[in-house]
Symmetry: C2
Subunit: 439 residues, 2 copies
């Protein structure tokens, strides 16, 4: 008789129900792959559910389940950063391994939670916290374990990518698509976390930590959402051969001796050349592109959300634990943040002003002679190289938008150049700027 | 002082040298990620190398190194299926863990080698054997461990993909591109394994085994290379919105109770719609698309060959082992073929005649009235549905090629329909057929 591993699933929303369904559908597969009996011993839910096997304990006392002797692994899928934190802490203190999909909690309190887990010799696994069903945590922590990561770029918010895709494909406005995304259940009633980039910033903080071996530093992620992107800019970008995507970037800067000197953490809309794979990740799909040495670039693509994808990631973590627990050994061998805790480095996170990207600029000017000459002179004096210019016919009487793409430049330089452009008499509006990454 | 793990690298060709370079470049990263001292204690090479640290033993007695007390992990990168097999077997019998990039050896003798490893309680790791630096073995065995795999489709031979890409992009002939690939070092002097699909079939046998939990069955892979693909067909496919790629497919068939009833293993050129990601994997890049339940489709993309990519995969396997060995525990917890040995299933591998795909047909006929009617009648009587037809103007006096795309059909049905078409008086040549997968 093979050994049994008992799971508690705390929360029976979309993800929790997905996990229950996965176990029902694939129980045979799970046993064949682990040689072990995997069973749900308890579910934590506010109201009793008729569709759950009566042999499984149902209770609304989540803290009791988290500490129960009848549980080996606690799966936290209630979300939020308050009750979830208490439950996970309680489970860890009672020697339970924890699997969670909670990106906000880990991005904000992960350093503390992982330290507690080390202390109690348990593992807190979080594959489902980033990019849904794409196994990017395992890939970064294990598959790329021999590489030095140079940078990564990820489309890691499905709702945001759905909105950007619909705007481009169907010429719809931001507000229109957002309303549909809410109706379809992709976006929350309060879409702030998605459209302001906070959800992506949570995920980026986790990815950056395991890429570079630095503590979680969510508060240092530069974060810009997609609410300011207009159809006009989407169309101009298209005309120039680019697509606007909402992307999270983590970039390692190094000195002349290859020592990390700073890390760029930024989440923002950016123009990407249309023939790059990331530009062709559409709808609610996610993808992460990683550039590392000596491997080069690899890309990981799939569903970034949804019951099935998230359940797949949760249960992959469970399977990792089961495969170890079934051999009577002591736990997981992969460090929480990919690097051993005493080796996490204090490489500084760069300020937004120090970040380097190309730019898309949309400048509105009175159509007077010399305006373009003035703009290009200012850019040139600031050491900013122009890659492309598109001047469209006037769409308001006397006003013409000028679109300029620049080569990469440090943000502080661009800031001062834009201030000078906006000070010109002939400029009628604020300069619209969107970053641009050639990838 | 942290524990030391000693590596032996057997073979100092491109890959072996890549591994040495990786360790030199990233030693600090390896220690930070494992908390462990990783060192090369010996290299096996036919001739003494000056560029190797003199502290490292160099020897041409590979068998002695494989059994040395001064070695924890043996890295086999000599290739081939004879000496490599003896060395790996010898290392296993002496209790060494083995890391290998040898797809041919494992596809042909893996069942025996893995059984010996189980018996000796060591692990034989082979991430580098499939798709170079793309961590597809880890993904399939661990990240997708809770999923039921429905099918996978992979561009898993870089040389073949380079040839197909150049033919399409630059209108070059097969022979012309092959000569360049050989000059660039992508293709061997004897390119048979690449262009006849054998290398891809080796890799597909490994992928299918870990996808479905079946023993390795290389000899049952249906295998067709790219030597028959002409520029003409590449161009017709393009005109119809498809690209021709050389793809390996592993497809699970199931009965009404969702029980696996058969498995399709096939490697061949196929038409793919141009807007699919796999159609846009170009040059020497590899990619594997996996469809599984409940995860859905995920894609893994990167360099399928080269010193850096292969070394990355070899050392990822080493890191997995190091992380376990450093904690004084007994070994690797992931089954060699993803499923525990006693759970491997004997689901039959289907004959080529039972496989189902769409088809691209190129039929040359005298331009006489009624020829198209005859062809479509034959297809219709065979129950084959036509998806598209392209009839080009005559390029030889009196002859017109007719291009037909069909919906999926069982191969045996297509065989008999083609026999009837070829028997028509008006048909002047063999019918050219290439498979087509909408993906």
């Amino acid at each position: 008789m093979s050994k049994s591993i008992k799971l508690a699933i705390l929360g029976l929303g979309t993800v929790g129900t997905g996990v229950v369904n996965l176990i029902n559908d694939n129980l045979d597969e799970l046993k064949r792959r682990s040689g072990c009996n995997i069973m749900i011993s308890a579910v934590g839910t506010r109201r009793q559910r008729d569709d759950i096997d009566p042999a499984i304990t149902q209770s609304d006392d989540l803290m009791a389940i988290a500490a129960s002797d009848d549980v080996d692994i606690v799966i936290e899928v209630i979300g939020g950063t308050t009750l979830a934190k208490d439950i996970i802490t309680h489970a860890i203190r009672h020697g339970k391994h924890v699997v969670t999909a909670n990106k906000a909690l880990l991005a904000e309190h992960g350093n503390e939670i992982f330290a507690l887990a080390e202390e109690n010799k348990v593992h807190v696994a979080y594959e489902a916290a980033v990019a849904g069903g794409i196994p990017i945590i395992k890939v970064m922590r294990e598959a790329l374990a021999a590489n030095k990561v140079n940078w990564l770029a990820g489309i890691i918010n499905g709702t945001g990518n759905f909105i950007m895709t619909e705007m481009r494909d169907k010429g719809r406005t931001f507000d229109d698509v957002l309303a549909e995304a809410q109706a379809l259940g992709y976006a929350e009633a309060d879409p702030t976390f998605d459209v302001e980039g906070i959800d992506a910033a949570h995920k980026l903080a986790l990815l950056a930590s395991i890429a570079f071996g630095i503590p979680l530093q969510f508060d240092k992620v530069y974060c810009e959402g997609i609410t300011g992107i207009t159809l006009q800019d989407v169309n101009y970008a298209e005309e120039l051969g680019y697509r606007i995507k909402h992307v999270g970037f983590a970039v390692r800067h190094q000195d002349d001796n290859n020592i990390a000197s700073g890390i760029e953490l930024r989440v923002h809309p950016t123009l990407i050349p249309e023939d790059k794979l990331l530009a062709n990740v559409n709808g609610v799909k996610n993808a992460v592109l990683v550039d590392s040495h000596p491997l080069g670039q690899t890309l990981y693509y799939g569903d970034g959300a949804g019951a099935g994808a998230t359940a797949s990631a949760v249960m992959a973590d469970v399977m990792d634990l089961v495969r170890v627990l079934c051999t009577n050994e002591q736990g997981h061998h992969v460090p929480h943040l990919a690097f051993i805790p005493e080796e996490l480095s204090d490489t500084p996170i760069l300020d937004a002003e120090q970040m380097t990207t190309g730019y898309y600029l949309r400048v509105h000017a009175y159509d007077s002679p010399g305006v373009l000459a003035n703009i290009t002179r200012i850019l040139s004096e600031a050491g900013i190289n122009i890659d492309a210019i598109l001047q469209k016919p006037a769409h308001k009487a006397g006003q013409v938008p000028v679109i300029i793409l620049t080569l990469p430049v440090v943000e502080s330089q661009m800031n001062s150049a834009i201030a000078k452009i906006e000070a010109l008499d002939t400029i009628t509006d604020k300069v619209v700027r969107i970053r641009l990454d050639e990838l």
